[in-house]
């Protein structure tokens, strides 16, 4: 919520150019900070994996880890080299577009996670888009019929769903729609590696539905609240007095002014989804990034952990920037410096 205003304040009054191109300046500045953040994140993750006991060699060898085998594999994987040296090699590789090879199976990390990035992105975008549309729509309707039975029921249900963690939602959906009561949809999302997720739309239904159910209440509550604010404003009363039809007031007078705070919540929703897919992917066995991350952590596969975390962090940064840009674009007065 605060990011947009803060960013505007910072980016706003610095120069004449800033006043003329606040959005461009914001994008440039925040991108540079973003890259720095990514480097820091990679250092942090690398340091964290180094402090843990055990390593990829023992994770691979398990109960066949005799000292000799352990040492042979550690040497083979380059784990006996100094940590700084390992990090530097990795960083140089990344700057050349090479994310290294998996410690667990020697395959290039890019081929291991490339398809998974797409799978997760489809899940996040679908759930985010559908959740946003439903949340905004319901929020507008509830605000328009404020204090009606419809409004009260929606608000209570939204509150109740907010209290449910995603794994409960997922389990309930699976019991009802897949495994026990009716067998409409697959209980797990399995598709052959290499096939895009949209070629198996049925497999997407329950994971997307789970995420939609989890995110809709947040968008709905924010939208309802800001819509009510807008509907109580002077310009709406003016429009009503002038006899503008109610649907026009809602869509053309109130909604554009109410959407700005909701955009921040939608942005947060996408950020939440990037993390929330981990649980959902795990439960539905959906071959996405989150599932790969869980596996990579238990394998202590540092190059894969690094690559996935960087992708997630980059997504966070990109969504943050995008949210602020949209928030600026839809509220012209924020683009002006506050003097």
């Amino acid at each position: 919520m605060t990011t947009a205003t803060e960013a505007t304040e910072r980016a706003g009054p610095t120069s004449k150019a800033a006043r003329r191109h606040p959005i461009r300046d914001l994008v440039i500045k925040r991108s540079l900070i973003g890259i720095l953040t990514l480097v820091l994140v990679s250092i942090l993750i690398f340091a964290a994996t180094q402090t843990l006991p055990g390593n990829a060699a023992s994770a691979v060898l398990l109960n066949t880890a005799t000292p000799q085998r352990l040492h042979a594999l550690e040497v083979q994987l380059g784990l006996t080299r100094p940590a700084v040296d390992q990090y530097w090699t990795w960083l140089v590789g990344v700057l050349h577009g090479n994310f290294g090879k998996s410690l667990a199976n020697g395959q290039p990390v890019s081929t291991l996670i490339g398809g998974r990035i797409l799978n997760s992105l489809v899940l996040v975008v679908l759930a985010g888009a559908i959740g946003t549309l439903i949340g905004v729509g319901l929020g507008v309707l509830a605000a328009a019929r404020r204090d009606s039975v419809f409004d009260h029921v929606l608000s209570v249900v939204a509150l109740a769903v907010t209290a449910l963690p995603e794994f409960v939602v997922a389990v309930v959906l699976v019991i009802f729609f897949a495994a026990v009561v009716i067998h409409w949809f697959p209980a797990v999302s399995v598709f052959a590696p290499g096939t895009p997720p949209w070629s198996n739309p049925r497999e997407l239904v329950l994971p997307v539905a789970t995420l939609v159910i989890v995110v809709v209440p947040y968008v709905f509550r924010m939208m309802r609240a800001s819509m009510i604010d807008a509907l109580e404003s002077d310009y709406v009363q003016m429009a009503q007095l002038k006899g503008v039809p109610k649907w026009r007031i809602l869509l053309f007078h109130a909604l554009p002014n109410a959407i700005a705070p909701t955009i921040q919540v939608i942005g947060l929703t996408f950020l939440y989804l990037a993390g929330g897919v981990v649980v959902v992917e795990y439960l539905f066995n959906y071959p996405g990034l989150g599932q790969a991350l869980v596996g990579a952590v238990s394998d202590r596969d540092i190059p894969q952990i690094q690559a996935i975390v960087l992708v997630l962090a980059a997504f966070y940064i990109a969504v943050n920037i995008l949210t602020d840009v949209i928030a600026l674009a839809v509220s012209p007065r924020r683009r002006l410096p506050r003097s």
């Binding site: 006991p53 023992s58 994770a59 109960n63 199976n105 389990v171 699976v174 399995v190 066995n285 596996g295």
Partner: protein
Amino acid sequence: MTFSRREFLKAGLAGSLAVGGGGLLSACGTGDTIKAFTTSTAGKPRYGGTLRAGLTGGSTADTLDPVSAITNVDFSRIDNLYEPLIGLTPDAQPVYVLAEEVTPNAKATEWTIRVKQGITFHNGKTLTADDVIYTFQQILNPKTPGSAAAGLASIDLKGMTKLDAYTARIPCSTPFATLAEALAIPGYSDIIPVGYDLSAPAGTGPFKVKSFSPGTQSTFVRYDGYWQPGLPYLDEIVITDYSDQTSQVNALLAGQVDVVNLLSADVISEVQGEGKNILLSAGGGWNPFTMRVDTGTFSDVRIRQAMRLVVDRQQMLDLVFGGFGTVGNDLFGIWAPEYDHSLPQRHQDLDQARFLLKAAGAEDLRVTLVTSDIAQGTVLAAQVFAQQASGAGVTVNVDDVTVDEFYGTNYLKWQFAQDYWFYNFYLPQVSLATLPTASFNETHWDNSRYNSLYAQAIATTDTSLRTELAHEMQQLEYNEGGYIIPFFPPVIDGFGTNVGGLVPSKSGLSLGAYDFKNVWLS
């Protein structure tokens, strides 16, 4: 007495053929309850179809390389791609697979291995003695020792010779009467062709690899040139990795997969309630508690015996595996011919435990038990142990570490920890675990009488003499050893009503040791 050994192996072969032909149900140690679990409604064998397996336990570290395979789920692929010289029947008895004859000389210092003729690898190469020699060279390569290297260490690599196209002579640097048994352990000694290339893996098994994405999915297709007549039944196998039992069971119930592995006992009623089947196997795998006998608290034999006496074995099985599985007697190799069933079953005896602890001056004993989620139920078993030990006034601090820390540099050095093993024959298991030269001597057991008994046993081809020697060794372990072996865990798998030909295996591996060549879909 070379003859008797041969007969022994031949008898095993006959058993295997019966199983291969008819899908015979093996009689299991725990009896009738288990048979009730394995009734299949799939009717007579039928050709064709794709078996969809949903398996847990995989990761991106999975491999198709039989030389370095380790995990239960690795074997699901490897056991169908490759074949060993000697395999295990569902009853855990050795049986010739690729070998036609495996015979030692009188002193057990040299073995002659002859392979069957007319067997081809997936790449078209004919199986010969060269492939046997090549495989041993790969397993025992000192730079990249394979998973089976420790168990086959007695083989003299340089002395191996080819007698004719199908016969190899394998000399041993020390007497090694149990080579045949060591070769029979599932998945560890599969034969690969000379010049084996992991990027195009070729074995002699019933299925060829079509695709393999570690930790995700792999597909296998029928090998039309397979040497066993009429097998396999299936056209294709799709193995999908599952990270979690919940999604795995959901997939089975929703009909998205035909077979699932490594279930816990608490989902049995759910699976059966939804009309699916459970395959329950009395596994010979064992998940011991390991006490170091050489230093620290457990160097006092009275304390070790007290720790063995605090365990209520049946209660532990009830709590960890829903009462399935077999109660253990602190001895391994339960299906081995040398296993000593005459030693009295050890029961919980808290008074005796207190008495021993007092005698050892350790009434208020506090110990740390290092556990990890290394196999099904290990952490829970550790907690149950701590609870039971408190009955004798012993405080057990359960230290739950990550799997990679458990098997990291402290592995084989922990004072008091756990481990898991698949089934192995008695003497080969000793060579891995309870000799000073053993690679995995986690209890640091080094008993001179025991060592000399082993040296005698490994040097004789007389099975009855060997059994006698092995019984005395087990007596020593029973009275002084560092292992607590409270149970042999059950193996619980699930399968759909359309699946036929699954037979419980005593090996400790899932789904009939993943023997999919005998499986059909109705």
